[in-house]
Amino acid sequence: MANIITDETIEYVGILAKLDLSAQEKEQAKKDMANMLDYIDTLSALDTEGVEPMSHVFPVNNVFREDVVTNGDDRENIILNAPKVKDGSFMVPKTVQ
């Protein structure tokens, strides 16, 4: 079964992925995703009826600790990596009108 990826789907996935693809990239993405899904569809031949989905190979439990701060204030060093800083804070474009 050949998968066909529509412009709408690519548009929608682009929104989910927060990616702004060029027209050329979109065409390529349509092709790549369709090919990949065709390949992934091999899985449909496998009977998984009644199988419990396994997200982790070992039982994963919450790791609890006392609510005590152990790391110090590293504000000055953290901010060194910021693309843009104002008054010791991360600066971003206006988010509310």
Binding site: Y12, A17, L19, D20, M33, N35, P83, K94
Partner: protein, 491 residues
Amino acid sequence: MTVNLMSLTAVELGKKIKAKEVTVVEATKAALAQIKANDKELNCFVTVNEEAALIRAEEVQKRIDDGTLTGPLAGVPVAIKDNMCTKGILTTCSSKILGNFKPIYTAEAVINLENAGAVIIGKTNMDEFAMGSTTETSIFGATKNPWNTAHVPGGSSGGSAAAVAAEECSCALGSDTGGSIRQPSSFCGVTGMKPTYGTISRYGLIAYGSSLDQIGPIAKDVTDCATILEIIASYDTKDSTSVKREEYDFTSALVDDVKGLKIGIPRDYLTKGLDPEVKTSILNAAKALEAKGAIVEEFDLSLVQYAIPAYYIIASAEASSNLARFDGVKFGFRAKDFDGLHSMYKKTRSQGFGAEVKRRIMLGSFVLSSGYYDAYYIKALKTKALIKKAFDKAFEKYDVILGPTAPTTAPKLGESLSDPIKMYLGDIYTISVNLAGLPGISVPCGNDSKGLPIGLQLIGDCFQEKNIIKAAYAFEQTKKYDRCNIAKSRD
């Protein structure tokens, strides 16, 4: 000085340092000289930590002299894959989006190495965000295979594997999500190991597919790998998937004794797609182990063809979520021209990520999206459960599963990226090991007619690293470590 220090294994060099035959500064300088001589051509390193490494070497020497550092790797020059955070040292994931990122903390596995006295000499090249099998998707350009520079070193830990083979470091750390330690080790003729999931803390490892990612050693031999593993493995409350193991001893398995060890070869690993020269070499390795008293037989593992599609669903889904943090706000690259916050996110990500990373984020977003989640993501998790069950069944009968690490030797540069699915198929023998959380090791077992190395993969049951270390060590005794010409040229 008559001995080329870089020709030694990490443990051999550590011994010489301990015996005061060599100083830590001499060892560090030897690695740096090798990098200077060859790395322009090979491109194994993204960052060489020259100045800091030499200062650190002096400190380590003092602590060896005063008796505080006594471990086997004290003073040994080590390289770290560039997806592990190193405080104050550039950590890029070979991506534009992290091109200027200097972490404010160090990954737990690297801290464990430093506490043992290792000297970090630099950060190695990789496929961008560890997505790839050739180290060609790096923003810093491809790494070349030291055995033949027209070929790829494999990936994604291609920089680490090539650096070990070219003797630009004594050993290295890599990370393995679908074969990213074992496959480049195979292509570069070195030994690389992925331990059981949860054995090494992922704290400070920049996540790709969190349920599959695991750090591990790449070195010249099995002894080095077991020694490094013993040092970097630890239970860590900072990683919620870290496992408290009953024991952290791996080196006691370094014995040349496989009498009675039950080894199974999956018949489904020896079928179409496997290069005949690789097949012959693998079967010869099995014979060598049999001659030492191991019980070797073929069996049907089943489900082999389902591992890659399940992997690409799971890994891409996790990647799409993990890579959401790269948005140009707190660290890394930010696009220049944008119109508002969302436009900034989108432009930053579109300009900051390369094609393969975008491809996987798109696929991951798609398989997790409403309407497709059950058909793809849940289906993949069910497949994973069945694959795990198939291995469980195999390990009821066998101590070790033996097969090739990769179906071919290293392809030529520039041949892989144009056909992603073909490239993905190259991971057929390694990927299921990650899905099932098992330990696996790749050991060099010969060269093909082009002179390119072939890797033998040994897979163990969860927490049974000792079985594969034992089998790998016993096999290694039958075959001397082969150095590439680039390494030999410095003798």
